[in-house]
Every structure is written in structure tokens, then in C-alpha cells.
Assembly symmetry: D2
Homo-oligomer: 454 residues x 4
């Protein structure tokens, strides 16, 4: 994989043609930051199949990678310079990767011009954030009037073992046989397995409009490159918008074994569903894994019960070692969601009614200070505690795999987290088990925690 | 046509789903004007096949027409109330009309939110106006990377006689046999004939992706309802943006006999092509009609020569009574355009390089004062004179068929135009011939001029 | 149109690739007759738009026309030599005509190998004839499992006047608005009008899978060249198989004014529907025309009543001057057909249950002897009389427009028909009125009858 | 797999509608044999995923399985009774399996009516056999005029180990990345692996018209059920027509490790290519496997050299452990095939020019007598020896896995083969190595040879 390729690439997929102004943004020195983010995302997309989850390392490895944009008679064209050779076959870029490249371009330009710098959205208000998300997703072509609800979001670790991975494939297969499309966060492990299984099932069912949606964000994409099975890649501006997109697009969510990232996602969702406004909304949520993961889910369940209470544990089902049952259950539950949306004249393609408080939308940047100031006590509404626990996990993810997070830890040492005793104990217990089970990192080396519980 | 129908209509065609915010704009009392424009355009679309070109009259006839927008599980839905019955078959809206309805909605919402009120475009600057046009057209789905150049814009009168109409069909047929798509300004007469002929030819050639593009604007659409053959309807915010869209989308332009509207279009184009910046750009422009129209084109040609000079008359060819030759010539000339764009790496789908001075982009509202202040003298660059003559014709169109124009004339009497003698003489001569040839209005009554040459 | 074109043409449409054996049939001297029939059909197809209905004349005019078949790496290729130039645009064959050419090839080879010379079908048995028809139609790709019944067969004259022609267009338009597909016998007049109207309506309704089926046979195709709107051309081996195909494919039949050919079709159908076995089967049959055709239908109705009795006149409705009502009625009646087929588990795409006696299937070749021996008396079951009257009209069609019929008349003088007095009187009356109304031939010259009533 | 399902199934895929006559064949007692063959093939298709290769055993296991055919308004319908449950998801048949069911029906009816009992083909003549094959393949929809040559036939054992299986997947993946379609003989092992790999590659390349062609025959299908990835299933009447189809459809052939079936295929092909008539025809043939298969290919190569001579070994390349190289080589060689076919105006979709002597086409039924009479001596042209060796292997396949072959062996003991000493030694050596390497049967039990070398 030391070979590098320089090539010209034409647009494919859902990128509309670009205006002269948009092309100039990608060449003008005034728009340095946009260009850097695009270069980073492009590298991630092209770097598919690599086996590192260390963004910083990947970026350093490809210092000579670059990407230019050119105006031509048929639209725009990209020149990729010193790209990883495994994105190519006999000098031609693999078509799926080519599509990802232009999906990244599409989302970054749209977010830059029409969302972040347009003055059109007030991004400190909850409604406007949701509206902005809606616009990005619509522009990406994933909001379509549909007849059936069939999008299952699958969450789970990127660093899972072979048995767990095969299990995620089997669940994807059983969902796929029942015509469900799959949405994950891109990357390897539990984010790839369900799509692989789903793709085989869709082939057997001769489905032709399968959607394998991958939702990423610039900070994580380098560590979790989209697998080419993803046929709709979306890059949201930040992790909170990514999480909200999962929540509003999904008709059901399945959670596989994972590490801190998966815990972040579970806490995010539980926090929202615990909010009084969402009390009566059906929201299928299933935790599942192979026999060997029973212990893992017991610990996770205990942690939820200890910190958020029994009401939280009732929001999900745990199904161990039964992929067919997972798919059958999802099928049943989604029918209730359909009924609910019809009764309330809600859109099928976007869950407008789900109440997501601003606390869950505000971008959390994991600095040492912010991490140390998180309020991890029971003296607050339970959904607020969930929001803060979610931030704690988010910070640990950043310290583990994101380029700036790793840099911050290298510079200042581990994050310090503090809070009420019983919460810290539960947290300590859970994190230790992740380390023991090697759920923190891909490389298999001894794990040096990027956090301390104080 | 006395029957009226009330019905619910689901979205079809290229309207994306709407956000909650966009739906609310169409119901909220804060957005009265947007709603009124939509109601007007919807009425025009539904009123297809009517034989009046008096917008004011049409609007008065349908005072009880209304349209509501509703949010549903599958997206939005429209309720049309007291709509003209000929838009329906056995109670079901004709699918082509249904598409037009949602095209109108798409363009009005987009222009309202993303162009006019977004703060993103500086609409007093030429580049930004062009960019805005590009965005509206892109959002309407008419800018696609294409392999061949095949869009012919056809201009000509809505009030032409049967022989002329049949001729426009035959030209459309010959263009269609050669795989050309047709773009016109919607409405009857020369704007419908080429599409009808083109559609038959495309059927014979088994073309499946035919584009029959109709470009309108809110002020004119009521008088020139889109024929349902139009399968891409676009509503630009004003007449200048509509004209610029024609100029930038077209690969060739064919002009049939017409009246003041057609003269406006010809002058607009000649003015631009006379600008020094556009000197070397190939731009196929053919004036054509049946034998009986020879006189008409002689007069038009004399007017152009008298006012803009011989250089202007060299910008077009006149072909009398030879539809096949028109198509063959267009075919040859478009090849040169293709070469030119390839050499300059220009887009095939949008003529960025065409220089359109701000004078031709600035919305001209035909008030009595503005009309009387038009500089119609030879003491200015010839392209400026063309711009001002274009405005004079534009005002007359408005006084003839637009609702507010008619109202202004009713209130204050005819517009007064003044200028250099030889120009006024040429103008007088041309306008008189239009009146004599009944090219002013559809209804066939005695024509009362809405202008006076002073 | 004296220009002639020689060109190579690649297969398009539904011709499968040919075997080496099939290719050799079209070149080998052993298969002279097949080659001649193909040459004739090809000429007819290419001669579209010509205004003669005299097959003999057309063939003589194009003595130097020829067609070769060539084997290539991508399949077969045709070389057409001295073809009429109006089948081409700038040297390229019009795609619709190209499809017709290969449809002719497909049907002729199939009928030759798999039906007529296969030994697989016993063509003197009613069931096997029906089965053979089924196989030809299936091979032509017109038998598809459908959800709705929407095929209306339109019959009527090729030599109708402008008012009648416009009326057929309007009926086709109203049918098309209601999603009906059209099937006719190819050719001009009432066989083209409904398709033209239907095509416009389908465009407005954005229907993309329109079927405009033309069913011809080698003896008639030269006189009734398929209009390029026909997008499924089928060439049945003889006129009886063509008539049976109409009857079994149709979900409703509409008959416009016509001449002897149309009378032949009406009698064929009445004869079948009068058969006791078909007593309870719903079979929508509507005779319709503009105001000016009222007289025509009165005469036809009187003829039917006089010869076949009142029961026969109850099998159809006559609707004068109301295209919309025709379409509404067809719509209603077809629903009953659908119910009937569902109840009896009959196929939607092929009316197996319709009983067609062998007398209606046996090829009738109009020789002077056979014509003179037709039993035109009331001393037989009424459906037999209908069958014989049908043959009488068939012979007259042949004498009017078919190459061998015309030759026979030139050689031996008019056919002699004899029969019971009141029948001959009715026949005489009807035929005279056809002559008076110029419904016999296209060319408008004085008509010399090819028959005598003895 | 103890559960059984009874269900109604509608046609999907490329089965045309059936005539009444064809439906009756599947119900009438006169056509017992056709019905039994269909029942057998249907069972095989539905039994996908089972892990037995013993046809007799499978048939006995499903004695209560049956299948009825019903005429309905929308065409035909099948009633499957006591079908294996793994063909269903929640009571609905998996769509791919449903297509296979109707493909089987299509091919059996076609072969029965139009080939075997039509009198149209003289099946004792070489040309007519080839023509019959052409007709069956054309009716199955696999002969299409194509622009590129991209069909690679993959042969190899059904009973291969995991390392070999993964290798076949990887070769399929590398071929798929280069847009090659895959054709195999259905079943597990080397017939499934390349399709799985190819399907993943096609997904990454966003290919939408992938062809995964499986060619089987009634005698083998029960032991080698088509994997649902197969999207074009074809059932040829016998093994020799199946082999000819492979040879004439393929643009290149890749052979993986296998057992006697694979040897049969290799000898069949070498015998043909050794024929003087085929001397100059490019025919890419690559033998490949993982490192561990080096020994296997050495033995096979020695056997070929010993029996057919050095000239035979030059007809193929052996590539060990380099999937990418296999695909690159195929790509290069196929370009030469393309050139050759263009030069000779040969069809791309069917290799008419390949000379297949009648000896290779004549159905060989492995009776004890025929096996014992095979001429296995060097006193004959080398391609004849190849033909006879091919029959020897064919007989052993039959004795191993086919229902009637197994029964014959059970009744009369092993087949006896005799021949020239050095040939029998080479044969003995090769067959022993297959037994040792467990390449004879799937079940892993001790293998009892169904042959004796005398």
C-alpha cells in the first residue's frame, strides 16, 4: 500500500454541478479552512480499507496527498495527487469511492455556504439547528417521500472481534431479507458488518434501490473511513448534528457491542427519550450481540440502571444471539412507528416530532477544561445527566482517535472527570471492562487511558 | 369552463420535501406576498388551455380560487379550491399540470428563501445576479453535465395565425428529429408549436429523456399558461432573470414571428451580442417563418438596421419557409458552439462566459415615469440603446397583458415614449405594422395602444 | 421524395439475436418466398408517410429497393438499398422506423420457423390456430401480466375526411387521458388519429410505458404503412390471424367511420359475439364519429339489423359527437370486463375464453371462384351468415388495395357476389353509400367497383 | 430444516406468460416425465443452502414435496407444497429463489416443446445441437448484443476447503472490480465463491446490470443447488449441452481446484481446443488456486501431459496464489478474443466459430456397459482420447452424486474402466490424489470409489 496514484476524477452520483463561485472557494486562498477540511475528508474516503483508527497517524502518513478542483466543459473535475493506491483498479478509481469523494464535496460546500455562513440559520437555537440538519440531508438526497418505513440505524464498535462482527453481518442479513435499509456511522466493525449482510440479502431479494447510508463528520471520518458498500455518504458538520441525523432519520435503532463511542450514542438516545416531551413516542431500540457478549450487555445495562434508573432500561430490549428475532422484532415495532406517524400526520422520512433539547445539539468540544467541568451528579433532571455523561464519553472518543483530541492528550495528559461517587464508580467499572475487553482501540497494543476519574 | 373542482393533490416531479419552516411560510400570515404569488402562479398553471391573455381578467374570473398547503406523513399535500375543471380528468388532476404546480412551489420557495431574502446574494451586482440565476436553475434540476449541446430556445408571438403556428410546429419537428430539445417561454402560439412538433419527432425517434423546458415569471405566467407538454417548468423571479436564463441555457435561438414581446427578446439578445466582450463567441440565432411572414421579417430587419446598424443584422440569419434548413443550420452552428466551449473549458449546460451587462439584468418596472425617461437616442453605445429599446418593448408588453400594467394604463392613460426622431419613426413604423397584423393581443378586438410616441 | 438512400442499419427494439440458421434463411436461395415477404414488409415500413394505398403501385415504384442481411460481431445488420428517403434524417434512419424494420424481421422469421413450418401446430384446428397466435404475440412481446386492462382497439377507415380524422384524434386523446393504450391496424386515417391523440394525452399524463400497438399482415401492410407512433409493430401471417389478435388482445373496441375494411371488421366481431358460446361475455363495442357521420352509422346499423337482426345491433352502442363520453363509457365497461376475467380466472392479456369458430379463422383468399360461392342467405345460423358477409367485404378490400387482388381484378374483371335478395339489396345499398361518400380509396379519383352484385 | 412451507408463488423474472397448452402440460397426466423433472428442479432450487450433494438422499428427504401450476387472471401461479422453509422469509419466498423457480419452468417447457419434441431440430447432427443450444440460451435471455466481452466462466470443485474457497472469492472480486461477469455451474464451493466476490466488487463499482449466470442440468441440479446470487439460472437438457453452453458463452475460463467434475470440464475443453479446426482461435484458460493447491495443479498438469501430451499443457496458464494477476491476465487475453471476433465478424455473445465435434455433444449416459467400453488408448487422435477420458470422469461424477448413478452403483457395484497401461496409471494416480485430498464428496465420510481401474 506504499504505492500512490495521481489521477483525474469526474463527478458521479448526487453532486449537482457547481457554480463558478463554488469552484473558486475550493481554489481561492480566502477559503483555506474549507479546503483543508475537504482534503482531510477526501483522504479519508480514499484511504478505505486501511486498518488504522488513528486520525493523526493517517494524516501524517499522507503529507504529500493533495486534491485540486478544475472547471471543465462538462462540469468540474478533481485532480487527486498521491492518493492511496487501493482506491484504484488498474489506475481507475473505484466508482463507489469516486461517489464518496463527490458526496464529501457536496456536503462541505453546502454546509459552508448555505448553513454555516449564510446568515439564514440561527445556530444557537434548537429549531434552527434541526432545520439546518433537514436542509443538509435534503440536499444530500436522503429525504424522500416513502411509502414504507425501512431505515434501521445500526450502532456499535469499530473495534469488535470476529465473532461479534459475524453476528452484525447476520443481523444485517436478516434485516435485509425483510427489505430494511441500513444506516451506520461509516467505518469498520459494527458499522460495516450489517451493511455487508444487508447487501447479500438485498441481492437475494433482488432489491435494486437499496440504501446503505453512512453518516460521518469531519472529525471522525479519518478514523472511520466509509466502506464502499455505503452508497449514500453524508458528512454532517459536527458530531451533534450527526447524532441528530441518526435519530431523526431512523425508524429503528439496533446497538451492537462497542466501546465508548457506542456508549456515547446510547446515552445520547436515552437522554432524549427520557425527556418528558418524547414520553409516548414509539422508538424501537434493540441491544444485541452473540452469546459471548452477554456479559458486556449486562454491564452496560447495570451502568444505565445505576446512573439513569430503571425507567431508562425499559426503553430498550436486549436480545442475545438471535439475529432472526432481532429482525422480526424490528419489523413489528416499526409498524407501530408507522401507525403513530400516520395518526399524527408526521413525515415518514424525518422525525420532526422527536424533541431534542438544545443541550444535546450544542457542539461539545472536548477540552480539558470542559471535560473537568461536566456535571456528573444526580442533582439534575435525568435527561440532563444523560447529556453530560454523553459528553464525557464523547471526550474519551476524541482522546482515543481524533487528531486534535490525541494532540491535546499528548500535550496536557489525560482528561479529568469528576462527579458524584456512585456515578463515578459505575463509570469506572464500565470503562475498565471496555479496556479489558479491548474495546478502546484497533491496534491491540496496551491501552493508555486518555482520562482519569477523580 | 364554468365548472370548478376542489381536490387534494400530492407532490410529483422535482419538488423536494419541504421543511416545517417552508410549509409554515405558505400558511403563516407573515408571508402574505409569497402566498399571493403562489396562488397566482397556481391559477395560471391550472388555467391551461384557456384562451385569454389578459391576466387581470383571468384573476377576476377566479376570485374564489384558492390553494392550501398541508403537512402529511408522506410529505406535503395541496388542497386546490375552485380550480378550473379542465385541469382534471374525471376528478383527477392531469399529471403534467400537477408537476407544474409543484414546480411553481419549488421555485417560489427557493427564490424567496435562498435568493431574495437570504442575504447570500448581492442582487445589485451583475455577478451575483448571474450566480442567483444559476442557483435557481440548478435547484430546478435543469443544469446537468451533458455530452451534447442540444437545447434550442424558440421565441415568437403568442398571438400568431394558423399558418405561422403550423410553421413553428414543423420547425420543432425538424429540430426534434435531430434530437434537439426545446425551450420556450410557456404559453400558446410560437411557444407551444415547436414543442408539439418536437414531441412528435421525439416519439418517432424514441427519445425518452426529452426536455421541453418552459421558463416563465410571476408577472407573465397568467397570460401565458404553460402547455402541459412542458415537462420542466421554471418560474424565475422577474423578466430579466428569465431572459438571462434563456440566454445562458440555450445552445441556439430560433425566433418566429411575434409582436412586442418577441421584439423585446430580440433586442435583449442583440444588445448583449453587440457588447465588445462577446465579440468572438459563436451564438446561433435564426429568424424564420412561413412565406407569408417575409414582410414581417423585412420590417423587423429594417428596424434593427435603422436603430442598431448593419453590425446588428449580421448577428442573425433569416430563413423563410424552410423548416428543414433551419434545423440543419442549427445543427451545424451548434457544433461550433460545442468546439468553442471545449476549447475554453466552458460548461456545456450554462453559458458563464456570455457577458451580460448590469443594464440588461436590472429589473425594469414599467411605470409611466420610467417609460417616459428611457433614453432612446443614438448618443450612447449601441448596446445601451438596445437595452433601452428592450425596456420600451417590455413596458408595452406589460401594458398589454400584465395585470398591474393594464391597471396602470387604465388609471393613467398610455405610456409616453420619447427619443431621437429617426428612432421614434422606426419604432412607430414597426409598432403600427404589429397592430395591423394583429400581433398585439389574442382577442381580435380593436387594439387600443398602451403607448404614445411623443 | 424521389431521393433514395442506401444505408446500414443495426437492430433496435425487441428482435432477439438471430441464429446462424436464421440469418442463412434470409440469404439462402432456398427461402425465396420468406425473403420476398420480408422485402415487401420492409418497403412498407420504410415507405411511411407516402400517400398511396395501392400496394401494386408502391411495389412497382420501388423495383430497385432491396435489403440484405449481414452477420456481425454485435449481431446482425441490415443493408437497405434504394430505400425511400423520408425514412431518414440526414442519412440516419428514424429510430421508430428502424424498430419497425426489425419487428417485421422478428415476426416473419418466427412465423416461418416456429409456426408455419415447425410441424408443431396443426393449423387446420381451431385451438392450434389460437395457440399459434398466442405464440406469435408472445414472441413479439405484447403479452405481459398486467394489473389493469387498458387496451382499446380502434377500427375505422384509412380514407376518412378531415373532420372524421380530427374526431378520431379527440377520442384517442380522451382515452389517453384515462391511461388507455391504443391498438389499430397501422396505416393512416382512423388507424393513426387515435394514436396521435393518445400520444399527446400520455405526454400530458407523463405516461412512460405507453403502448401504441399496430397489427398488420403482409398482404395489407404495403397499403397501410405503420405510422412511426406505433411502438409495437406486429405482423401476423394472414388477415384472419390479425383479426383474431385484435379480438383476443382488446379490452374494448371502438369503431370509427370507414369503408369495406371497417365493415369486414365489424361483421367479424358481430359474428363471433353472436355465437352462443360467447353469450354472457362482456365485450365493450362502441361505434362513434362526428356529427357529420350520423348518416353513415344509421346506414350501417340498418344493414346490420337487416342482415343479422336486432340481436346484433344490441351488441354495440352508437355515440355521436361526444369523444369524452366514448372514453367514459369505455372506462366503465372495461371495469366489467376486468371483473368478469377475475371471476373466471381468465388472463388479462389474452382473451382465451372468447370462442372463435374455425370459420372465422380459416384464411379466406379472395379468388373469383370463392367470392362467387359465398353463401349469403338467411338459411344458416346467423353467425355463419356474418362469417360469409365478412368474407365478401374482405374480398372487396383485396380488390381495392392489395397487390394480388388488384391484379386479379385487372385480369378477370370484378368479383361476382350472389345471395338472397334482401341481403343483396342491403349490401348494395351500403356499398353504394360508401362509394358516394368516397370511402373506398384514398386517391379521390372516380371509383371503379371491384365487385358486382348478381 | 424440518419446517416445511406451503405457499402460492407468482411469476417473476424472465418467464413469459404461458399458453393454455403449456399450462396443461404441467397438469396433464400425459406429460408425467416433464412434471417429474420440473418437480425435481424446483426442489433443488428451493433447497438452496442445504449441505448435501447426494441427490438421491435429497429426493428421499422431500418425498412429500410437490408443486402445482394454476392459471390466473394475471398469468400463472405456482403452488409449492411442503417446500424447504429456508427458501422463505416470514412465509414469503425469497425473490431470487422465486426467479429461479420460474427460470426452471421456462427452460423445461421450452426444451420440451420447442427443442426435444418439435421435430425442428435433428439432434443427431452437430450443427442442429449447437442451434438448439443457441435457441435455449436465447429464450433464457442470455444472448444479447454487447459492446464488450466480459463473461468469465469459473469451474472448480463443489467440495473445496476454506482456503481454496476464500481464494475463489478473491479471484471473483478482482474480476468483478474489472467489470467481469461470472458464469458457473451453480452449487457451492468454487461455483459460489467467485460470484460472492464478484458481487461485492460490482457493488463497489456500482454496476447495476451484473450477470451471475448459473448453468445447470436436471441430473446435477439437486446436488448443486443454485446459490441465490445467481441472477440468471439456465437449465440445459443434459450435461453435454451444458458444457457446450459454457464453451460458447465464455470469453475466458478460469479453473479452480476441484475433483472429477472439474477434470471432466478441463478434458472437455482441452479435447475441443486440440481439434485442428480450433488451432488459431484465442481462448483464455487459466488454472489457479492458493499456495496450498500447487501440488494439486502439478498432478493435474502431469496427468494432462502424460495422456494428451505437451501440446495440451500449452493451452492453459497456471497461476498460483495471485488473484489480481489472474484478473489482469484475463483482461489482457479477452482483448485478443475481442479483436479476433471483430476481425472475423463473429458474434460477441456466442462463439459460433468454435468447432465442437459431435463426440463432445452426444449425451453420454454412464451405464456400466458404456463405461467399460470407453476407448482409453493412445491409438486415436488426441482429441478423441480427451473425449473418452472426459466420459470416464463424467461417469464417476454420476456415480458419486447423481440419483440414478448412485442407484446404479448400489445395484451393480463400481464401474469398470479399462485402457492402455500408461493412461490407466496416470488416471489411477490422479483419482487417488482426489480421494486423499477429499475432493470426491462433501460429507467428509470415508469415500467408497464408484469405479475400478482394470
Amino acid at each position: 500500500m506504499t504505492n500512490k496514484v495521481t489521477a483525474y476524477v469526474n463527478p458521479v452520483g448526487s453532486l449537482d454541478v457547481l457554480s463558478k463561485h463554488e469552484v473558486s472557494q475550493l481554489t481561492d486562498s480566502k477559503h483555506k479552512q474549507l479546503q483543508q477540511v475537504f482534503r482531510l475528508c477526501a483522504l479519508a474516503v480514499l484511504n478505505t480499507g486501511n486498518d488504522s483508527d488513528n486520525s493523526k497517524h493517517i494524516i501524517e502518513q499522507h503529507k504529500d496527498f493533495d486534491i485540486d478542483i478544475l472547471q471543465t466543459d462538462r462540469g468540474v473535475k478533481l485532480k487527486v495527487i498521491n492518493a492511496p493506491s487501493n482506491a484504484f483498479v488498474d489506475g481507475e478509481m473505484i466508482r463507489g469511492i469516486q461517489e464518496h469523494l463527490f458526496s464529501a464535496l457536496r456536503d462541505l460546500i453546502y454546509a459552508h455556504n448555505r448553513i454555516l455562513n449564510s446568515g439564514h440559520f440561527e445556530l444557537s437555537e434548537s429549531d434552527d439547528i434541526t432545520n439546518a440538519n433537514f436542509h443538509i440531508l435534503r440536499n444530500a438526497g436522503v429525504l424522500n417521500p416513502v411509502k414504507y418505513l425501512n431505515l434501521v440505524v445500526c450502532w456499535g464498535g469499530h473495534a469488535i472481534n470476529r465473532v461479534e462482527y459475524d453476528y452484525t453481518k447476520e443481523v444485517g442479513y436478516q434485516l435485509g431479507l425483510r427489505s430494511f435499509d441500513i444506516c451506520t456511522g461509516c467505518g469498520p466493525g459494527a458499522m460495516k458488518g450489517p451493511m455487508k449482510g444487508g447487501a447479500v440479502a438485498h441481492a437475494k431479494q433482488r432489491m435494486v434501490d437499496s440504501r446503505f447510508i453512512g453518516i460521518s463528520e469531519p472529525g471522525i471520518i479519518a478514523a472511520e473511513a466509509p466502506n464502499p458498500i455505503v452508497n449514500k455518504l453524508i458528512i454532517m458538520p459536527d458530531i451533534e448534528k450527526r447524532l441528530e441525523s441518526f435519530a431523526r432519520l431512523s425508524h429503528a435503532i439496533v446497538i451492537f457491542p462497542g466501546g465508548v463511542g457506542t456508549s456515547e450514542e446510547l446515552l445520547y438516545l436515552l437522554g432524549i427519550l427520557l425527556h418528558p416531551n418524547n414520553k409516548d413516542m414509539p422508538f424501537p431500540l434493540i441491544l444485541t450481540g452473540p452469546k459471548s457478549s452477554r456479559n458486556y450487555f449486562d454491564q452496560l445495562n447495570q451502568f444505565v440502571e445505576a446512573t439513569l434508573g430503571k425507567r431508562a432500561t425499559k426503553l430498550y430490549d436486549i436480545i442475545i444471539d438471535d439475529p432472526e428475532q432481532v429482525a422480526i422484532r424490528v419489523n413489528e415495532e416499526v409498524k407501530k412507528v408507522r401507525e403513530y406517524r400516520k395518526e399524527n400526520s408526521d413525515a415518514f422520512y424525518f422525525n420532526w416530532r422527536l424533541h431534542i433539547p438544545y443541550d444535546f445539539q450544542r457542539p461539545f468540544e472536548a477540552t480539558h477544561q470542559d471535560m473537568s467541568e461536566l456535571n456528573l451528579s444526580s442533582q439534575q433532571p435525568v435527561h440532563n445527566l444523560a447529556a453530560n455523561l454523553r459528553c464525557a464519553f464523547s471526550g474519551i472518543v476524541s482522546g482515543n482517535v481524533k487528531a486534535d483530541g490525541i494532540a491535546a492528550i499528548e500535550a496536557k495528559g489525560p482528561f479529568k472527570l469528576k462527579g458524584e461517587r456512585f456515578i463515578m464508580d459505575a463509570l469506572d467499572h464500565l470503562l475498565r471492562s471496555f479496556v479489558e475487553q479491548q474495546r478502546m482501540k484497533l491496534d491491540g497494543k496496551t491501552y493508555h487511558p486518555c482520562y482519569e476519574l477523580v
